[in-house]
Symmetry: D3
Subunit: 126 residues, 6 copies
């Protein structure tokens, strides 16, 4: 069953984060493969696979939270990619980031917007 959680999580990770997610998992193998396993099992099998909220709304929530926290830029960039992957438009993502200026201040919104600029440039969309 653990192994089925792992496989379910890995499939969900591929669906949401694509290559960027797999890179994170790969880079944990030589230092702490258990953190890789937990990252797949708890967030992706237990949480993101739940039926009660669509993936687009889930990524809106995650982009909002990571923008507001402001201290995890690598994960924010992965989820800015993920938000595009699951169907958010670039304009919707910008709205989420803009809105965070209200709750976490302008520096948090500015830093997230510049992270999104990098993401769009990496995708050749800017």
């Amino acid at each position: 069953m653990t192994s089925s959680r792992f496989e379910q999580g890995l499939k969900k990770l591929s669906e949401i984060d694509g290559e960027a997610g797999h890179k994170v998992i790969d880079s944990l193998q030589d230092i702490c493969p258990d953190l890789a396993r937990y990252t797949i099992e708890y967030p992706f099998a237990d949480i993101y696979s739940r039926p009660g909220l669509d993936l687009k709304s889930r990524e809106i929530a995650t982009v909002a939270a990571l923008t507001a926290l402001g201290n995890c830029q690598p994960q924010l960039k992965v989820h800015l990619q993920a938000a595009l992957n699951v169907g958010c438009s670039a304009d919707e993502i910008k709205e989420v980031i803009l809105q965070m200026s209200v709750y976490a201040g302008f520096p948090a919104a500015l830093n997230a917007m510049f992270a999104f600029k990098e993401v769009l440039q990496e995708r050749g969309l800017l």
Copy 2:
């Protein structure tokens, strides 16, 4: 024009936060009415009135951020109410809170879930 921003914001505040929002604004009048005015103008007229994202998605973003920040329970409770007001189901809101355990840890998710329990009890929904 400032006054039209104010009126637009007040209307949006009523639509989203209802009575709870007006209580916050009222309680600022004797200490700092300018903060009341800015709270209406910037968040509600400038941001929440923008067309690029529906109010349901906006409240998902706000609930996620306030859950993750974990240090603004009064505002979280207002926006848990707001999320219900603009059409999120209780189950969708629970999903957002659950998901925050991944990004901000279990204490943040637990405290938000207990705040939501209070909100549902105040509404007679639990």
Copy 3:
């Protein structure tokens, strides 16, 4: 197997947090039993049951982190209890809190020390 994770976690929760932990779990039942389940499965079955670090060191880590974060007093109080439960002396716990003044500032240390004062008073130890 999920169920065996649940049972393993529940046993570990009892060992560490005692009654206080069960109260948290109970109070989730009417609002989000899945959060109760995840709280038992991931932190207690997956993490606290791992053999690589003794429970005393684990509680030192948790008290340090919750003191430093400063926005989750209910969980801090549960883990100040837990630290005593698993064999930390009151003086060792005070040292951890004192040390946090260096990393998170004096307000964080003061608020945690006052929380610990309440815990010791609840136990009749002060």
Copy 4:
């Protein structure tokens, strides 16, 4: 010399925080007198006694920081009192709090403004 740091700090604490500061120190005596001593020696003897910045500016800095951090309301209230004690006008303090909406978001500013409302009411100034 340690004792002279202690006495210098105690004098500075009285000058800045008045009765509220002494209450904090007193309430530490039965749980951790060393934290009381360090709180007097490092912040008040080492830092607030330094000549390079006037006390009014120091309290502006502290009120700003505690408003922005948002997780240490008791200390914020002590320093809102202190800011008034060392010569900040109520209006200047409101400006500092208002400005924090830019850097830490509206919830942080709102919660600090409501804390200041309580302080002014306790002083009979509102």
Copy 5:
């Protein structure tokens, strides 16, 4: 009127942040010009243009807050420049940063001091 807020804010931005502020605004033009506009209108026209607090005190507040938050180094560097621009001496700024060790811990103070070292080096003052 919105346009007059914009122009007032732009003038205030020039006065405070100089070239560094304009670079931030410019770099937003291709990704989200509305965030550039809001950054000028709310912080600079609405807040920094208010008469109740001098710009030197405002920058002391901002440097304190950004040092304490610790997760927005680019904005901290802009405001360390701004503090010098509006008349804070380098020594006064160092006092503000030193003082933050009390409220946000030594890492926050150290990281801000190293940011200030870079600012002074960029200005040829160190």
Copy 6:
């Protein structure tokens, strides 16, 4: 006596942080030697020299707190080194980091684990 605190602190700094600690102190000399002095006196003479908790437990507490705070990577890296210096095994440190996923979320744990990977690589241990 201040000078004896300084010497005691310097000795403790050498014992715990080794070369990395001295580099931090050295790099403060041209910008703010007083911050260097305070960093030695308060954390290292006053706190880390206290007898009530062993250095291994102290470093577990510090690594936990800096992982959870997530906004002071340079200091986290110094203390990941320090934890190894005072006798924590690499596996024990990984457990502390893993455990922080529970209290501060997966991004905090991931970023600390990648910092630890760098530390182990710098030591030729990976």
